[in-house]
Symmetry: D2
Subunit: 310 residues, 4 copies
């Protein structure tokens, strides 16, 4: 997948980051709420950078598929926004939540309208709407990710999806609670099935860096067609920066300074608008659910390259 | 069912109350969240008083079955308490909630332990535990109510139960939310089915006044066997006084001054410990979900008889 | 003060309770937030019963003055209710709070109207209004307590008041917060001074049992004049039962079954309407701020005499 | 103050924006909580851009002093951060709040530690600490603003400060509440006086654009000395982007895409790191407290110049 390029390349930067991360003490702990994630080795580390033209650089386990989890929320958001536009914003907000990522309190304050598309409640709303638009939200997601990454093997791990479902009472509560406010259109069990399957997508750093490319290309897909308007792409980047890393968006903003979205599988995607997209993976999490080595690697990347937005 | 008694009788008091209520302006509105309740005539009114020996006095529509709704929470509480005793209190509290009756906020504060058995979350926990104890909580409830009232026709209105289920997203959210804290033992759909069937019991004022008799007899059932210890009966009465009328327990305490429990079907049961039990029914509700004429009738009863606990 | 009476007397009951309490392990800990209270000996114990005619029975340290603290909230409530009647209820509610006793959350939900007169916020509102009515709320309180108890020495401990003030930031926050909603009429520093002085009243079990007498006499003061209407006295009793013991009102209701009000000085007053009033004191508190030995003694009292309201 | 520059200039952009704003319907309403702000004319509009070398471009009322209000929170944050560094972050967080800007709820959740330095509670903490560091926080602020803007007339409007104080119960509540958690070091009345004076600084768009320059120069002051490290300047920019516009940070991020901070006086400052700083003023506010014309003008600026961070 890596194409040759004459001059400037990200490869030396990635190699240096991987070396530094390898010497870093403290990797955090894998997510423990389902067995499939708890079994991950926290010493795994991979990182990829994709340029707008599709060139990819990588280091470590950058071709190893892992559980994308909440990273997929970015793609379902974009897919739904592309279909229904601003109508989506009547059903979910765009402001930071200031509360742990699956709190019900704010949802009750605000009559069943989640604060943003990246807290679980908001992602459920987006999936519900994409399901209505497409008839199979998880399938639409897979099709998009395969097309953008060029990887036809990219798929859902059904065992993980089943495990998510078996431990899914809190998401079920969120779904029914929003349904009680009329903010869910599909039957809640249908929605939950779609949601848990979407969380269980497995993809590599290379796949996800490529799939995120449209956010560096101001809305243009890999094949040159337009997914989002430039303004919509900017919106998604802004929401990633302010809401993309659970209750640590502020800290991520000043340490890394890029729009990013993390998942409890240990992955993080990030965007340097106009320049490149990144994906890093390492399963050990900090207490707020973000990959310890992943945040550190992105922090090093912006420091070494000067590519922060601030 | 009314037996003759030589001296003192509640009949003149009931007749006088019914006359006064008939002249009272403003009946409130029936509950509107399901069609079966919304269709009730707010001018209906019935009231019954049962003495500890089973003598019943009544007035108006006192033999007309109505939807018992949350009144049944008293009976499932007593049935579970009789079976598992203080172990129940590890799963539900006994303090007033200070919040609207199905708020999720306090539940999140207190790690999935509801404040008391009469808010919806607490009643779901009690039903869940009675289901585990009996294998069919709603059936156990019906058997108890039939035995105490002597009315073999008393039953569940399955159409109402189906309607409750169709509008049951908020209770489903509560069930799943508590399950996420490990405070629900049965599958949530099984629990909800039991819960909605229990809410849909239809019984008359006469039936419910008689069925409440064990709380005036310090725990003794109609057939002389013991359901609860004296101390447990006192506990249930205390919880009724402090938590029995949604967010109006304080107002009910000083207006009526009796342990009571209301339902959105327009019924209210009340206890004068050692003396008698009451049930009043009128479908028009105030903004906090209690029968307008029902509260007024009980207020008049304690004023006329001096039988308040204060 | 103890008068002779021919027949029934509470003295043997009190003697038995004192003996049992003396053998009870575990006394709790005195309140620690100000030095004057923290220094109290948790082994002190006193109890008094006053009959409606002024007869008082006592045991242990029943004549020892102690810091009345929140017990005074009952008297300021009655004094203000006597002056302005139902107008008070536009500024403070009458429902249990369901939250720790000085939470700001509910106050924010409900636009600066406290849930009831016995949480700190509510007591501040009552003091503010009594201050407006009298020009010196603490003085009006002292005058009332002296008149009812017949004890001219009863007074405010100014050192305790100063210490309360020095540790009074949370009450200052409550005062200013309610002022921001327009629910405080006096300058907040004036209000706080009155409030802390009122909390610092020192009185004995005998004094407080006598001063509570009007609640057993349906509103009639010791000198035969009327303070409250019968209905208002019933209201105060009902609020004591549902809100009088911080976050343990439900537990107090079923263990003791009497209207009661506790203070962090270790005192508790209680009412058996029509029969008698009680005050018990022992400085060791449980984790919810109620006297451990005090609750136990009242529990024994209602068990031994059968005088519970349930 | 405007220096001549040979080539590229911001002047035509500013002129075009002013023309467009002049034709825009709907200006919002001035803040109404104090008379001095309520009297402002919503048709006033000014805007200034300052380059890192001190060149300033302006349009409209860009030299007219206005009430800076919460914009000053950026400068007190920088001044304190310069003095005590990371120690500050033990007393205030750096995450978006997700709640209206002076809510007490989250403060209670998080034991008196405000979420970020730009909500009122957080700004009170910063002022308290700067007061401890300097002995006169408001004076330190004025000295800094005069030095950076080169305007010796820049000062506090004492009448506005007195008016803020007279309507300051909610901030007083916040101060006392945090003091109860030990998170305030100065006497609360001293802190409040400093805080209200700081809010009442009057400065023009030119003054504030110049004073913000250190954030475009990675921490370097106008005289070439260092105020903040590059990393600290990046931190402040990140906090502005995620928390700078009350409950509209997300919307501001995707509409404007720059670190910004607004005040209820109608001003907004913004930073294009490495390029320039801006200040816009127009007193009419939207329902979330941000200047309607100000946000629109910044939105146009980033659209016309392509200088958004996204």
């Amino acid at each position: 997948m890596t194409k040759s390029k004459p001059s400037l390349t990200f490869q030396p930067v990635l190699d240096r980051i991987a070396a530094e991360i390898g010497e870093m003490p403290g990797r955090g702990r894998p997510a423990a709420y389902i067995p499939a994630l708890a079994a991950c080795d926290p010493d795994r580390f991979g990182m990829a950078v994709a340029e707008p033209d599709g060139t990819v650089y990588g280091v470590g386990d950058w071709r190893q598929p892992f559980s994308a989890q909440s990273i997929t929320k970015v793609f379902t958001l974009a897919l739904d926004l592309a279909r229904e536009g601003d109508a989506l914003w009547e059903h979910v907000g765009r402001e930071p939540s200031g509360n742990p990522f699956n709190s019900l309190v704010q949802l009750e304050y605000e009559n069943g309208i989640p604060r943003n598309p990246f807290i679980n409640a908001g992602a459920l709303v987006v999936t519900d709407r994409l399901q209505t638009q497409t008839g199979d939200a998880a399938e639409a997601l897979i099709a998009f990710l395969r097309a953008e990454s060029g990887n036809d093997q990219l798929s859902i791990n059904e065992a993980v999806a089943a495990s998510e479902s078996a431990h899914g009472d809190r998401n079920a509560a969120l779904g029914h609670f929003m349904a009680s406010y009329g903010n869910i259109g599909n039957p809640v069990p249908v929605l939950l099935n779609q949601y848990f399957r979407q969380c269980s997508v497995e993809a590599s750093c290379a796949d996800l860096a490529l799939a995120t490319g449209f956010l560096a290309r101001r809305g243009i897909r890999a094949d040159g067609t337009r997914l989002l308007s430039g303004s919509q792409a900017k919106q998604v980047n802004a929401i990633m920066l302010t809401c993309g890393t659970y209750d640590a968006a502020g800290e991520f903003a000043y340490r890394v300074g890029l729009p990013g979205k993390s998942g409890v599988g240990g992955g993080i995607i990030a965007v340097v608008p106009g320049h490149c997209t990144l994906c890093v993976w390492s399963p050990g999490l900090d207490e707020r659910g973000n990959s310890v080595s992943g945040v550190a690697a992105l922090d090093r990347f912006t420091t070494l390259t000067g590519l922060s937005v601030f």
